[in-house]
Symmetry: C2
Subunit: 180 residues, 2 copies
């Protein structure tokens, strides 16, 4: 019974430390927002996004000419799988794009020109759902990253919602639907 | 204290039941291998494969005309990510293919014909690494599944290794490499 007061103090001390650390992190972020997140939205590259599950895949031809995997965090996957839109706050979608390359090796094996594979990564686009933080863009914040670094072009980031806003309301500003 | 013997009996009873059920499942499998796994290899659709992480993405044009995600279980992802081939026993690769469809909706939004998306699933191919079980096919066993059901064509399954065997030895009979 004698240990109880000490335990309470120790737990209180840890909690206090956590609060201090949390404030310190916020201060750092507000000092250098460019290094921390995207222009306009302050979206950062979510840790572990490369390990997320797949919503679907796609190919953009023309000038873009990439092949892409669209991944989601747990909250996004749950909504995408169930088709229950709009996505809830906390949903994050990661669109990973790669050079779209013909594969001479595969084509030689198959005996015909048919195989296209992913080359180097081109960019990663992150969409974060947070209705309170992003009330003017359908609840979505956007960020683009090349080689793990945020793209700092405000002109570029403003093309995101301009384009996503053209989708029908039922899509909740998201191009991709779940592929079973 | 009076309850203890009863508890032990109850636990023992449950354990016995589990053993019986386990044997029953095995008997069912050996009675009807065609319904349980692929021809030649006996490969089954691994539970939860749709939640696996992404190795890469690809597009096969021509008669196949699909867009695909290549996923791996934990053992496969670890080797693919590190590039440490051959894959160890227990590695499983799941190739999920979908109809390759132009997206009139996206093309209207982008103002040009460039967008291709995944339609209905066409088939899932599973490659299982087990050097002891599949000594004659580079340690790999294969299975193809449509709508969750195994493809029972022996002719079809025999095309798998015939094609994978044309890859250079360094590829360990696997077409896809990890996209970061």
């Amino acid at each position: 019974m004698q240990r109880k007061p000490f335990m309470l103090v120790a737990v209180g001390g840890l909690f206090g430390l956590a609060v201090v650390l949390s404030h310190a992190a916020k201060d750092t972020a507000s000092e250098d927002p460019g290094a921390q997140g995207s222009p306009v939205y302050g979206v950062t590259l979510p840790p572990g996004y490369r390990e997320w599950q797949v919503i679907s895949v796609a190919h953009e031809a023309g000038n873009i000419n990439d092949i892409r995997a669209i991944l989601g965090n747990e909250i996004a996957m749950k909504a995408a799988r169930a088709g229950t839109l709009p996505f809830p706050d906390g949903a994050i979608i990661a669109r990973l794009a790669y050079e779209y390359l013909p594969s001479p090796r595969n084509n030689a094996i198959f005996g015909r020109d048919q195989s296209f594979v992913a080359g180097n990564p081109t960019n990663v686009q992150i969409s974060v759902k947070d209705a309170k933080r992003y009330p003017n863009t359908g609840g979505w914040g956007y960020g683009q990253f090349e080689n793990g670094k945020v793209n700092t072009s405000e002109k570029n980031i403003n093309t995101c919602f301009a384009c996503h806003a053209k989708l029908p309301a039922s899509a909740d500003f998201v191009f991709t639907t779940y592929s079973p």
